[in-house]
């Protein structure tokens, strides 16, 4: 199985995560996206990431999936932290070490120096934890949810049927496109062209065109057949009256997670809002002092 196939193929297991209703999973994804915006504290963001990672581990995913997840998370964390450490512009900032000294001839004068800042690292870590949590949860959703459930879930969240259908169908064809890219590159190699062995930009652009052209032409032809096939079966003839053979039904467990998640999300947002009102001098009451302390330390 190629990496592309593994990235989009859902696993079948009887774990708690697998059994959750697709709507609940989409809700949790949306709720987490709100949470990562509201949370600024590295401790709580780390806690959230640990919680999401624990959920991923509890889904008993194949080792190769976990490996892909780990590589993606590490790349994201490293990339975000390093770039933020380099390009942190707020003040105050403390230089940890110098990469290019401003007094170096030519390059130093041209760049004005390149430094790694301590505050940049911290800020990068916060951003990285946000990104890593969303990435983990997103992959967990796609690895534990059957596409048909995902389709119904998206429709439940009022995403138009056409858009939901196209999203899920595009995901189904992604591995096929990846295989085609591999085939095109091989064809080029067998005709004496080394597509990826060059640092020459012109050649890399030419390679991209040589590869994109047949892939796009093929995608367009396939899309044409898919469109004709869908339209032959009445797709879009009457979107308002469309019915559904399968429905999603909430179990007690789903309802519990949904309510629990909602209460938790609303609670966090409320505490944060109350704290922000106090912090900005808009509203203060001594009754909420403990809450202000909690928010300051954790949120």
């Amino acid at each position: 199985m190629s990496i592309a196939q593994r990235m989009i193929r859902p696993t079948v297991n009887a774990t708690f995560i697998h059994q959750l209703d697709a709507r609940v999973k989409i809700f949790l994804l949306l709720a987490t996206s709100v949470l990562v915006i509201f949370l600024d504290n590295p401790k709580s963001l780390l806690l959230l990431f640990v919680f999401v990672s624990a959920a991923a581990l509890s889904a008993r995913l194949p080792a190769k999936n976990l490996k892909i997840l780990a590589v993606l998370v590490l790349l994201a964390v490293w990339g975000t932290m390093f770039s933020q450490a380099l390009f942190y512009s707020k003040l105050p900032r403390t230089v940890l070490f110098v990469i290019i000294h401003p007094k170096w001839p030519v390059i130093g004068e041209l760049t004005g120096g390149l430094f790694v800042y301590k505050q940049g690292f911290t800020y990068g870590a916060v951003q990285a934890l946000r990104f890593a949590s969303m990435l983990t949860l997103g992959l967990l959703l796609s690895w534990t949810t059957q596409p048909r459930d995902l389709l119904l879930g998206l429709i439940h969240f009022k995403v138009p049927y056409e858009v939901s259908f196209m999203t899920v169908t595009a995901v189904r064809f992604l591995p096929l496109v990846m295989n085609e890219v591999r085939t095109v590159l091989t064809v080029q190699r067998l005709r004496g062209y080394r597509p990826l062995k060059s640092s020459n930009w012109i050649k890399l652009i030419r390679t991209s065109l040589y590869t994109l052209k047949p892939i796009l032409a093929n995608c367009l032809r396939r899309a044409g057949t898919l469109a004709v096939s869908a339209e032959s079966r009445g797709f879009r003839v009457n979107p308002e009256e469309r019915t559904y053979w399968r429905g999603l039904e909430y179990s007690y467990m789903d309802r519990g997670v949904l309510w629990g998640g909602t209460v938790f999300l609303v609670g966090i947002v409320a505490v944060k809002v109350v704290y922000l009102l106090y912090f900005n001098g808009v509203y203060y009451t001594p009754f909420l002092r403990e809450l202000y302390g909690l928010a300051k330390n954790w949120l």
Binding site: R233, V237, T243, R246
Partner: protein
């Protein structure tokens, strides 16, 4: 298309055929309103389906009149589960859930797939996928089922499954069938009537048995008639039958009454071709797995191919023949075992090292064409080999002329017909003058004229080279292969002279292959096995 006048009666089974690009698929799209409702172009005239004018009726009504099934099952299935796929149409029509459930059950029963309603569409064989595609159309309860080359991508067993289902729908449910197909010999016995199109016009429209009395018109348009029909035409016997069993009965009568004392002749011996050249391919204990959950695709394959051989790899879909072919081009690396191509172990090599030595033509030529003009496409390889400009020109001229596309040299490959695109892809490989040419299902979707032209050329042009090709087409193998390697479940189950292999009913059954009609007739008549119409004719009349 122009000047089309056509009447189809309820319950008819129509075979619609003609050379590539003649307008067959366009005609099908007119039946369920895709043209003009979902396409551009200019339409004049009327199309009336069950009394409904397609121009004046919306798609919702029309899709319930005519169901459309396409060539490639993978390009028409959206859902990951069988029942969802079948439910898609009724859901779009806004039917109540109970009705959708009833239609799913009924449609899957019709195509004999009811046990697999919860199966994943990716886990199905090609034949099963195509049956799901038919079921998903039948769930719309159409009066007419139009099918665009539904068996061209299937192995003989898959094709039989699908054709039996189509015939069953026609006879038991009275569904009108309009089937587009090049492989007339596969479907002629099922159809009532044949329509031949050429350059957008209907050039023949007759009951099929009557039409097949005159094979000249089929030859004129490069169409292949059933071997039995060709035999009767050559022997000048009227009323050709369509299946081997009928032919045996008739021939017994003819040859018993006319030539009672004529001794049975034997065909000239076709001794196994000697393999004396250098070893081009050497495979030892090759194993390969795509996905551990689906088991091994190749399970310890041993094979040697020598220079000058034309080897046909045969077997049902999923038998491992394409996987084996991809190893020969170093596209796949052995899971275990060894593959040597032209003396080099491919395990650590990039396909680049085979450039100019090995050429591969895929079933889908679109993935092989990336230049702006046909000329650039053919010159691309030789330029990368850094040949002289005279040599490049010589190779280009020869390859273009061999594939009869010299006049298309300045055209964009993307703008050509599928047959022309395939020939451009072949020309681009030939210009490299490789010692080993690999072809993956080169006959799919091609009419006989183009198949013969390509294989004739490869056999002659490449006489000293080696050819390995995957195919289900027994007639092409008999005509062009010097050796057949039959695969089943990742193993090689037979390897030898095509005639010896096709004479073994056991091998044919295990590999899901269909014997040529000539062989069945010769066996039915108690003659020495004959593999082509000419051989059978020689046996019968000398």
């Amino acid at each position: 298309m122009q000047d089309i006048n056509l009447t189809v009666r309820p319950g008819e089974f129509i075979l619609l055929t003609g050379p590539t690009g003649c307008g067959k698929s366009t005609l099908l799209k007119l039946f369920n309103g895709l043209i003009p409702h979902q396409s551009g172009g200019k339409l004049t005239g009327q199309v009336i389906i069950n009394g409904i004018d397609t121009l004046k009726t919306d798609m919702r009504k029309l899709t319930q009149q005519v169901g459309l099934v396409f060539q490639n099952p993978d390009d028409q299935l959206f859902a990951t589960v069988v029942e969802d796929e079948v439910a898609f149409g009724p859901e779009n029509l806004g039917l109540p859930r109970e009705e959708i459930g009833r239609r799913i059950q009924e449609a899957l029963q019709r195509v004999k797939m009811v046990d697999l309603y919860q199966a994943g569409t990716n886990e199905l064989s090609g034949g099963q996928k195509q049956r799901v595609a038919i079921a998903s159309m039948m769930a719309m309860q159409p009066k007419v089922l139009a099918l665009d080359e539904p068996i061209s991508q299937l192995d003989p067993v898959g094709a039989d499954e699908v054709l039996n289902v189509i015939k069953e729908l026609n006879t038991s449910l009275g569904t009108t069938i309009i089937l587009v197909e090049h492989r007339i010999h596969e479907v002629a016995h099922l159809a009532d009537r044949i329509i031949i199109m050429n350059e957008g016009q209907v050039v023949m429209d007759q009951p099929i048995r009557q039409a097949l009395r005159d094979v000249a018109i089929f030859h004129r348009y490069g169409l292949r008639v059933p071997e039995v029909v060709q035999l009767f035409a050559d022997l000048k016997i009227p009323e050709p039958p369509l299946v081997a069993v009928e032919a045996v009965k008739k021939l017994k009568n003819v040859f018993t009454s006319n030539k009672p004392d004529q001794p049975v002749r034997t065909p000239p011996a076709k001794g196994e071709r000697k393999r004396v050249g250098e070893v081009v391919v050497k495979i030892k204990e090759l194993r390969y797995t795509y996905d551990p959950s689906r088991g091994e695709a190749l399970k310890g394959v041993d094979l040697k191919v020598q220079e000058g051989e034309r080897v046909a790899l045969m077997g049902n879909n999923g038998s491992g023949k394409s996987t084996l072919l991809l190893h020969l081009a170093a596209i796949l690396k052995p899971g275990s075992g060894a593959v040597e191509v032209l003396g080099e172990n491919i395990r650590t090599k990039d396909p680049c090292f085979l450039a100019g030595q090995v050429g591969i033509v895929f079933q889908n030529p679109d993935l092989m064409l990336f230049c702006d003009t046909v000329r650039d496409e053919v010159e691309f390889g030789p330029r990368n080999l850094k040949l002289s400009s005279q040599e490049i020109e010589l190779r280009r001229t020869k390859a273009l002329s061999a594939m009869t596309i010299t006049d298309l040299a300045e055209d964009s490959p993307m703008a050509l017909s599928k047959g022309q695109r395939l020939r451009t892809a072949v020309a681009s490989v030939l210009a490299m003058q490789p010692r080993l040419i690999l072809l993956d299902e080169p006959t799919t979707g091609q009419d006989k004229m183009h198949i013969d032209a390509m294989m004739d050329f490869l056999s002659k042009f490449h006489a000293r080279g080696t050819l390995v090709f995957c195919t289900h087409d027994v007639e092409t193998v008999i005509k062009y292969a010097t050796r057949v390697v039959v695969m089943n479940g990742g193993h090689i189950i037979a390897d030898g002279d095509p005639r010896a292999i096709f004479s073994s009913p056991e091998i044919l059954t295990r590999a899901a292959l269909k014997p040529p009609q000539s062989l069945l007739i010769s066996q039915g008549l108690g003659l020495t096995p004959a593999f082509t119409v000419d051989e059978l004719k020689e046996l019968l009349v000398g």
